[in-house]
């Protein structure tokens, strides 16, 4: 015990020598702001918070932690929704917030080189004068950092057409657990060797610490047109999405909101949503003026045939923004009608949307908790928001259990427990449902290849088989339970 305290004191001393007194936080009042990320139901006070200024300091900090065998949890802006940046009591929380420089906007080669602490939206703002932008746009883009986007493989409204973070990356500089600099990708569209760039993306800070990112920029569309279609039944909206995709159009955004989220958003933002509709479909078309015009004609025809009760088009940039403002503010809007809400992030093949929503509805009645649904409809990513009150004893547990059931449903329909928020701490039990023990073992082996001592964000994202046994989860593949002949209760 004494030697451990001694080691901790040595580590503190060394970290101060690297980043300076001001940038190592160790007092309770300094640590508390870091005890959770965007998933505030989970809180742990870290041993220390370290805020390096540049990649060299990150490298030195990681080396030092490696030497003292101290676990590291990396943190960007702390907006993550799955507890991926939840600290460890005996670990260092490594904040990358001070690495916040846009290093280069390379207009000729349409790319940006940035540090991990740069905010997502700041990239597009810096690129805009050159007629360029960065496509992935998570709803938290005002605040979330690019480093965090890489760690979670963040998506957003645009990703049906323009891809996730992984599809918009060209290069990463990563500090490995033993403090070496690993350069992945480069200036070209591919690189030699295995594709470690893809593997690193979405690895939730468990394979390395990203210290520099090269992003692909795209030309700003000449025109964007936004439409809103209302439906009297949610199922009709779901079918309309399938029809739009089958007609050969890939909209820049395609979102569904259900009645409860429409009403919450309307009360909050006054976006002009029809509060009597069962669902609305928001759709963005972009490209050259001619592309938008031809897509628009096709889209109108599809929507008219889909039973939409009203189709509205935004006639000005302002109106366009207002239509989207309601969607983008859907989470806080729901936050106004309920003391607490729990946001899920499952994905499903789109064709099962109607069935899944019916299941969610009956679960909602069973648990006596309301649910508002917003849905990245184009890519099958559901965000059911479970409304609860943490002050009512047992409601949080109920909400969590309900959420877990929704995720298991997604797996049963051939989908995934997380589309863009990551597993983190939150969905770790449901990983036991999505993956077999061979697959989970393979993940652990892969982690060991990068991090043999398990020092990078240990305990997140991939459950141990022991944990799965305790959770009692049954692995469901392709909608089929193992041993379907047995009765399950």
């Amino acid at each position: 015990m004494i030697s451990r305290m001694k080691a901790a004191a040595h580590l503190l001393e060394k970290l101060i020598a690297i980043v300076g007194h001001k940038h190592v936080l160790s007092r309770d009042e300094e640590l508390i702001p870091y005890e959770c990320d965007g998933l505030s139901a989970y809180r742990v006070k870290p041993m220390l918070v370290v805020l390096p200024a540049d990649s060299e300091q990150v490298q030195a900090v990681v080396r030092c932690c490696h030497q003292y065998q101290t676990p590291i949890v990396a943190r960007g802006a702390g907006t993550g929704l799955s507890g991926g940046a939840l600290p460890l009591q005996n670990g260092v929380l490594l904040s990358l917030a001070r690495l916040n420089q846009i290093l280069q906007i390379d207009v000729v080669n349409t790319r940006a080189r940035v540090q991990p602490g740069v905010r997502n939206l700041a990239v597009s703002e810096a690129a805009r004068p050159h007629g360029l932008y960065y496509a992935p746009d998570p709803s938290s883009q005002i605040a979330c950092s690019i480093g965090g986007n890489v760690a979670e493989n963040a998506g957003g409204v645009h990703c049906l057409k323009y891809g996730l973070t992984v599809n918009n990356l060209l290069a990463l500089k990563v500090i490995t657990v033993d403090g070496e600099l690993l350069e992945l990708g480069g200036g070209a569209l591919d690189s030699a060797g295995l594709d470690l760039l893809s593997l690193m993306t979405g690895s939730e800070g468990m394979l390395g610490i990203v210290v520099e990112i090269t992003l692909r920029l795209l030309p700003l569309p000449q025109q964007t047109r936004t439409l809103m279609a209302s439906f009297e039944q949610l199922q009709q909206a779901g079918n309309a999405v399938a029809d739009i995709i089958a007609s050969g159009i890939i909209p820049a955004g395609l979102e569904i909101m259900d009645r409860l989220s429409i009403q919450a958003a309307e009360d909050f933002i006054h976006a002009g949503y029809p509060t009597d509709a069962a669902a609305i479909l928001l759709c963005d078309l972009d490209g050259t003026a001619a592309d938008v015009e031809t897509d628009y004609r096709q889209l109108m025809q599809t929507l008219q045939n889909s039973g939409s009760s009203e189709i509205r088009q935004a006639h000005s940039g302002e109106e366009r923004q207002r239509m989207w403002a309601g969607r983008k503010a859907a989470f806080p809007a729901v936050g106004r009608i309920s003391p607490d809400y729990y946001c899920m992030d499952g994905t499903i093949p789109r064709k099962y949307l109607g069935e899944i929503l019916q299941h969610i509805d009956s679960l909602s009645q069973h648990y006596k908790l309301r649910v508002a649904n917003v849905f990245h409809a184009g890519d099958g990513n559901l965000h059911p928001l479970i409304l609860y009150d943490a002050n009512q004893p047992g409601e949080l547990q109920h909400a969590e259990e309900f959420g877990g059931k929704i995720l298991e449903l997604c797996v049963r329909y051939g989908g995934s427990i997380t589309g863009e928020h990551g597993v983190g701490m939150e969905k770790i039990n449901q990983m036991c449902v999505q993956f077999s023990s061979d697959e989970l073992n393979c993940f652990h082996e892969l982690k060991s290849a990068f991090d043999p001592d398990g020092l990078l964000n240990p305990g997140k994202a991939i459950p141990t088989l022991v944990r799965c046994a305790e959770f009692g989860a049954m692995h469901v593949h392709n909608g089929q339970l193992a041993h379907p002949e047995l009765e399950r209760f």
Partner: protein, 351 residues
């Protein structure tokens, strides 16, 4: 899974090979045997893994067994006005298997706009060196559960295991195509390519060879009409793009070493015999220059060089990795293939 699953026979073959530390050479349709490094071993053939597992056009996803021919997939997709975004090449007049196409990670001329193999790859089933049949990723567009092992398989040349099934994101086939031809030198061509990269046109090709720049666009005829007016040039209808993709142009007839340089698009590379593809990001060179020289040249433009075909297939075909990457790559190889049975030496001599 039924007992007739042809994958289980292959799983058995892998289990046996691992036990006896016997090398296996994974083969689909033999269309890429002239690529990569020379590798020996007993044949592990995916050609019994045949057929489409799931395809619903409105989902924009197809799941297919790894031995299925690319042409069969493309035919099916064409009927529904869809296509494989990465437009994989088929060499030597042979059809490619989809497993081979994914393992080689090669994409056609539309790569800068429509993405690489990895961008379309949503999920895989894989038998690893411990004969574990596993599924990673899935059939949905977005999936961040677990490490992205699917995408790791794109371009791994079968060194990590046998792909038995892949799920791919699709793209609607554009209603029309337009190719415009301009006479210009390489420098002017690169300038035009860079200028167009700042325009939101639905472009699908930009290639310069022998004094001619060809630009391809895929969109609605109304949009193409406008592009033609704005950009000008001779319009052309030919098999140029598929010939370029499948290396059927005369340029590729040479027996001399064929190099592929993957570089920053604005790279100012002056070489006699070259094709500039991918709007500058991919250069094909016929060259007998020393490998080191070409690798230096590629590195100067933050890229890498591959001895794509011909030349010594036992030499370092791919650009050597730096120390840190090489070590990680070896550890990953060991993770998936602890006995080193899959395609030994196909990418690098030591893994």
């Amino acid at each position: 899974m039924t007992t007739e699953d042809p994958a289980s026979a292959l799983q058995e073959q892998i289990r046996y090979a691992a036990k006896h530390r016997q090398s296996l050479q994974i083969v689909g349709n033999h269309s890429k045997q002239h690529l990569g490094r020379h590798s020996q071993g007993e044949i592990l053939s995916s050609n019994r893994l045949n057929g489409i597992v799931a395809y619903d056009p409105s989902e924009l996803v197809i799941s297919v067994r790894a031995g299925t021919a690319v042409s069969v997939i493309q035919e099916t997709l064409k009927k529904n006005c869809q296509t494989l975004p990465f437009d994989p090449p088929c060499f030597n007049g042979r059809d490619a298997s989809i497993g081979g196409a994914v393992a080689a990670g090669l994409a056609g001329p539309s790569r800068p706009w429509n993405g690489a193999v990895r961008d379309s790859l949503l999920g895989i089933r894989l038998v690893d060196g411990q004969a574990r049949h596993m599924r990673f990723g899935g059939q949905v567009m977005k999936n961040v559960a677990g490490y992205d092992i699917s995408r790791l398989m794109a371009g791994a040349w079968g060194t990590l295991g046998l792909l038995t099934e892949v799920s791919l994101k699709l793209l609607p086939r554009a209603p029309a195509e337009l190719t415009l031809r301009h006479e210009c030198d390489a420098t002017q061509a690169l300038q035009t390519m860079r200028k167009l990269a700042l325009k939101p046109y639905r472009q699908s090709g930009a290639c310069w060879m022998q004094g001619q720049l060809r630009l391809r666009f895929s969109a609605h005829p109304d949009s193409l009409q406008q592009i033609r007016q704005q950009i000008g040039g001779e319009s052309e209808e030919s098999s140029f793009w598929s010939d370029l993709r499948d290396h059927k142009l005369d340029f590729f007839n040479s027996r001399e070493p064929l190099w592929r340089l993957s570089v920053r698009p604005d790279a100012d590379i002056q070489q006699q015999t070259q094709i500039i593809d991918w709007a500058g990001a991919q250069r094909w060179l016929i060259s007998t220059q020393a490998a080191d020289k070409l690798r230096e040249l590629a590195e100067k433009y933050s890229g890498h060089a591959i001895l794509f075909a011909n030349g010594d297939r036992n030499s370092a075909v791919f650009q050597p990795l730096d120390k840190v990457s090489a070590r990680l790559q070896q550890r990953l190889k060991h993770t998936f293939d602890p006995d080193g049975i899959f395609n030994p030496g196909r990418m690098y001599s030591d893994c």
